[in-house]
Symmetry: none
């Protein structure tokens, strides 16, 4: 019985029952539980199924989080420290872009009392800033429910009509070679905002630095300032690219 044959059987069972457990599989296929475990792990790595404690589930049955508006996120401290530092640069009269990432969202709590105008495509940001001193300009276009954001051609056009003094953006990954995004939509928004801004801030917790993602969408030239809790060797490379790096401690 080869791995491929077993994988096939596992997917069959998964299709029928929605979920399977290790003992059941070991019995049915006639191999040891250790082997089943190895199979499941490698299949999960390929995205063929969702590994659970004691078994596996069909991918489509897995419940995905919907919005981070109410999400009590883990690892908030680095993000909050980064945003607090970034917010210190925002002065009354500023017009700023805030993008739809979860890091930039944390900026909201620090700017509620500032007399500024915020342009954003993020629905949680709008909710958060609604009853604050801030004036909100919401970017229009197609609503992406999973990202809780507005995207598309109309959104890009909307952005191009405005100009901001500062933009506070997030990325999926950043290296000396450039910027990486999780989707083309996000990349386009980031680029559009950066193009209309005098000074672009990248808010990156340490996990983003040195990380690449599936789409490299630009070099570092659009970035003016990186705010991060990372202080390893990449920092020098950023600085030699003409970027200021604000280091924060958590």
């Amino acid at each position: 019985m080869t791995f491929q044959k077993r994988a096939h059987k596992i997917l069959e069972l998964l299709e029928t029952y929605g979920e399977v457990d290790i003992r059941q599989l070991a019995n049915y296929i006639g191999v040891s539980e250790v082997t089943v475990r190895r199979d499941l792990n490698s299949m999960a790595a390929k995205g063929l199924l969702y590994r659970t404690h004691g078994g596996a589930m069909k991918i489509s049955d897995v419940i995905k989080p919907v919005s981070f508006a109410t999400k009590a996120e883990v690892n908030l401290k680095p993000k909050d420290a980064i945003c607090k530092r970034a917010a210190a640069d925002i002065i009354d009269g500023d017009v700023i872009f805030i993008d739809c990432g979860s890091t930039a969202f944390r900026l909201c709590q620090f700017i509620k009392n500032k007399n500024i105008k915020v342009i954003t495509n993020s629905l949680p940001v709008v909710n958060e800033l609604q009853h604050s001193a801030v004036t909100i300009n919401l970017i229009g276009g197609e609503v992406d429910v999973t990202r809780q954001a507005v995207h598309g051609t109309m959104a890009l056009e909307h952005i191009s009509r405005y100009h901001a003094s500062k933009a506070f953006l997030g990325v999926d990954g950043i290296t000396a070679e450039g910027l990486y995004a999780g989707s083309e939509h996000e990349a386009n928004n980031t680029l559009a905002m950066a193009a209309q801004t005098s000074c672009t801030y990248m808010l990156c917790d340490a996990s983003k630095i040195g990380k690449t993602s599936y789409l490299k969408f630009n070099d570092l030239s659009i970035v003016d300032i990186i705010v991060t809790n990372y202080n390893g060797p990449e920092v020098n490379k950023f600085e030699s690219n003409g970027i200021s790096v604000y280091s924060v401690t958590v």
Copy 2:
């Protein structure tokens, strides 16, 4: 019983009842209350539900802006009857405008399963339709917090880029002489949407018929259909203006 399976059951119950309590869940699922508590906490962290003292609630029941929800509760039954009738005219493939009034908001509940595209400047409408079959296009511009809507030049321009088969609009008052709005912003939005629509529906409960407000912004020529629970003498005047009147009973 894995965590994932329990999560499914919890969400199922939540969908049915809107809220659940810990004891009930522990009993139903067959695990200890401690475990249920842990499950609820981790699910809340993922934004899958709203954790309450002693249980949990459906997210969508929570994130609705309170100010609007209460406003919408005035005269609910006529509004619902009107919207139900209006929704009957909406067919798969339609592109519709929904404006930011409290009446038009009640339309959402009747269109969740339709395969349509909704263009709106109303934040509550976006929230309400988020997890439905509907595709949402959000109009961009200045956010008006009190009205929970998007307004301004950019909004009007956004609207002018699209065309809809039907528009579902509300007004502050309507007489044989014309349409009355509570603010210039609302008037502009209404006009802009009507201008880009093949068939314009006015959703007016009886309190709006024959009422004037501080701004008369247009005659009745932009109106194609009035849906109302009013059946007094004004109806004939509307009909002699070439408008169809759908009468509903509460």
